[in-house]
Every structure is written in C-alpha cells, then in structure tokens.
Amino acid sequence: MSEEVTAEILQTHILDLAAEGRRLDGRGPDDYRPVTIDPGFVTTADGSALVNLGQTKVLAGIKLEPGKPFPDTPNAGVLTTNAELIPLSSPTFEPGPPQPGAIEVSRVVDRAIRAAETIDLTKLCVTPGEKTWVCYVDVHVLGHDGNLIDASLLAAVSALSSATVPAKRFEVADADYPLEVLHRPIESTFVRLGDTIVVDPTFDEERAAQGRLTVATDESGRIVAMQKGLVGAFSPDDVKSVVRRAFVHGDRLRAQIRGGRR
C-alpha cells in the first residue's frame, strides 16, 4: 500500500520534472546512460558479453550446436533467442513460467537480429535439409533498472560478435572459427513523459511512462524493427522524430560495440 503511494508520488514527480525537460538522475531528454560492454565474460559459452547500462545489467551467452534445419528453410541455420527475466534481477519479478514482459523482450530482440541479417543464416547450414548449426542466444537479465530491450540487444549482438563456432568440438570441421557478423542492429527505446519523449528510460521512468517506443536501426541507415509498448500513444510525427533520434544513438553505440569494452 505504502509502496503504491510512494510509487504514485514518484511518478508525479517524474512527470513534473519532464515538463521542464529534466530527469530524476540529472540527464537531459536525449542523454543515454553510460554503457560498458565486457565481451567474453563467460568462457563456457561460445560467445558472451556482459552489458551495464547504468544500473541495468544484462549477460548474453551464445551456444552453437549441430541440429536439423526447419523443413521450410532447408538451407538456413536456426537462430533462437530467449530472454530470462530471472527474479534475482528485480523485486518485481516472480519465479515461474516466462511472463509476457520477458517474452516481449525475447521477441523484439530476436526480430532485430533477424531483420538486420546480423548473421548470415545460410552460412550456418552444413548439409541442406540435413544438418545445420543451431545458434542459441540466451539473454540473462541480472539487474533491472529499466530499458531491458536496448541492453539485451546490445549484449546479444556483442556476444555474437565475440562468438566462435565450435566446429572441432562437434567434429564438423578440423578447427573452430569465428562466427561472422554481417550487421550490428541497435535498438533505442524512448518513453513519453507528458509532452516530452526521453531516451533510455530507467525503471521508475518506465512506470511513469505514457507509452514506450523502440526503434532498431542498422549501419546502412535502415529501420529494421519497431515496437510500441505500454499504455499510451504516439502521433506519426512523434514516431518520425523518435526514429531520427534512434539513428544517432544507434550509430554511437555501434561504434562502441566495434571498439569492445568502453
């Protein structure tokens, strides 16, 4: 109860600040929190990266295993993205089957990876219709202070960029080789706080938000995915302006991924 009241007061305060273009942590509407990327954090994975986005902390791990292609795409590898919003990461998550929130993160990250052709799935195929690499992208959220989608895609793409195909271990080839990454999609998420639309929301800002909009871009100037979430609405002009801003954040973060650890 008292928790509900506190939350409501905080939300009002966040909206009041936003009306003046200010934010609780002193950022401006277009300031992203500091990002650190730690590739290769987990050595049991074929690729991995730990991403800190402010106090949001996400670990992605890649595993590659031989398997069968789907019947309708005999020449393509299989890519599976799964995000776990484990209860360790937030007082608001409960143990149990995946919640709609975790499923949304998984699917939005998966769509960006896929639409941007991050990896060339046909190169994962070993024998058409028979044998292919199955690439598992497992995203483990360790600390939730908002904007899980952006942090999860950053971790996933960084982990893919650091991955090795375990071809020797599975006796598919004589040596392991690096997984080739063609494109690096970046998602930038915005929330509406009254008339202001701010980037990279914290947990508290998401609770106060009147709509969330995520835009994924790639390095060739294409929008590859979008997702509106939460209760709230955006005009077409809002959308176009958010897309513009997303390209700026995307290019900056892409440079950081290529550079590895901040």
Binding site: E4, P69, D72, T73, P74, N75, A76, P98, P100, G101, I103, E104, S106, R107, R111, R114, A115, E117, L121, T122, C125, G211, L213, G221, R222, I223, V224, A225, M226, Q227, K228, G229, L230, V231, G232, A233, F234, S235, P236, D238, V239, K240, V243, R244, F247
Partner: protein, 250 residues
C-alpha cells in the same frame, strides 16, 4: 518477412503496379464486420477480412481471475489472442505460443490506452480473440473485432480502434498485405489508430525501411485505418438497428 533459405520468391508487383490479387498499392482487402454473433458474451464481433476469419468476445467488467491481478483504482484489461490449430497451412499445436502471448500483450496495452478503466475499479475486462482462418494481418483483424466487441459490450472508450498493417513489397509501400506478400515482402508494419486524436496505440515493425518509406507507410496506414473506422461504425449501427434492446456503447 523474407524467409531466409526458403525456396523461391514470387513477383509481388506486376508491370502495371498491381498486386498478386489485382489490388492497387493503397487498396484494402474486402472487409465484413458483424457485431454480436455470440449471445453468451457481453459483447462480440466476427470479422472476415480478405481470407482472415476472426471471432472476438468480451466479458466484463467482472471479477478478476486470478485474484492477485486486481487493481484498486481501475479495471485490468486481459487479452487472449489465440489461433485455432487449423487456421494456418501447417497445423499449429493448440495453446498459446510466444508469438500469441506477445500479440496478446500489445493488444491489451492498446485497449488500455483508450478504455475508461478507472470507471470499473477491482474488475477485469476480458478480451478474447480467436483466429479461425489466417492470411496475414490477423492481429489487426483481431484488434478490429475486439474493438467492436468492446463497444457491443457497452464498455466506455475514447474511441474505436481501427487497425491495419502496411508493408513493403518489391520496394514499394503497400497497404494491407496478404499472406504471400507478408511471406516474401521486405517489411511489415501493423498499427492501430485512435481516430479522434490521430495517435497510434499499437505500432510494430519488422523488415527494412528507410525514413522516407516509414513516413509514407504511416500516412498510408492512417488513411487505411480511417476507412476501416467507418466500417466498424456501420457494423455497430446495424447491430443496434437489429437489436434495439442491447446495451449501448460509448
């Protein structure tokens, strides 16, 4: 969206700029909306949209189940979008897969953006969408059906929620993709509009679009939604004229 490793890609736009079913780029498929087909429900609607067949029903405001989801200041809106096993070419295993759960979530959030939920604290408004036959655009068809069902149930709302998907085929922006266009097209962008405010409460995108293409897609989609809005209102008018005793919508 551009199935990687799939067998063959058909031509989606002919020399005359017409699509595989003869439509122009800005043309909707035929839509029929019927309000109130299910007497058991508090509100219901059936939508045939191209080769989609979608049924929606609304129950509530009623007791919240499970209890711990109850909210003290407003109604919760729960949505269940489900596809029948036989609604697609490849039989779908019964039950909610991850795609259905995501769609259920974004549709629920869309309706929460327009329903006056604070009028019914501690209750649930349950929206059920069943896709009986699918041919691309089922989430939009479901949203349209559910929106008419909510009105049929007399739930007060800011406005009806027309919805449509815009896509990109053979590098052109096209309204309301059908299955082959969706499978082999380059982008798909479903949206739901609040006609009164001109704002979008559902928006997703997958594929490749440039900024100018996106601007064009948004414009085309909003226009499509306004056409669909008229059909939704007509369906409700017909419902009231044939069933004068039903509870009125907002």
């Amino acid at each position: 969206m551009g199935s990687v490793g799939a067998k063959e890609v058909p031509v989606l736009l002919n020399a005359d700029g017409l699509r595989i079913d003869g439509r122009r780029l800005d043309e909707l498929r035929p839509i029929q909306i019927r309000a109130g087909p299910l007497p058991q429900a508090d509100g219901s609607a059936f939508v045939e949209w191209g080769q989609n067949k979608v049924m929606a029903a609304v129950y509530g405001p009623r007791e919240v189940h499970p209890r711990h989801l109850q909210q003290s200041t407003k109604a919760v809106i729960q949505c269940r979008y489900n596809m029948a096993a036989f609604s697609v070419d490849e039989r779908k295993r019964p039950g909610l897969d991850r795609r259905s759960q995501e769609i259920s979530k974004v549709i629920a959030e869309a309706f929460e953006s327009v329903v006056f939920a604070e009028e019914f604290p501690r209750t649930s408004i349950d929206v059920y969408i069943e896709v009986l036959q699918a041919n691309a655009g089922t989430r939009c068809a479901g949203l349209v059906a559910a929106s008419v069902a909510l009105a049929d149930a007399g739930i007060p709302m800011v406005d009806l929620l027309p919805a449509v998907a815009v896509g990109k085929i053979d590098n052109a922006i096209a309204l309301d993709l059908k299955k082959e266009e969706d499978n082999f097209g380059q982008a798909d962008l479903p949206m739901a509009l609040v006609p009164q405010s001109g704002r979008l409460v559902l928006l997703q995108m997958e594929g490749h679009m440039t900024e100018p293409e996106l601007a064009q897609a948004l414009e085309l989609g909003v226009g499509g939604c306004r056409v669909i809005h008229e059909k939704m209102k007509a369906a409700l008018r017909e419902r009231y004229s044939t069933a004068p005793l039903a509870a009125g919508a907002a």
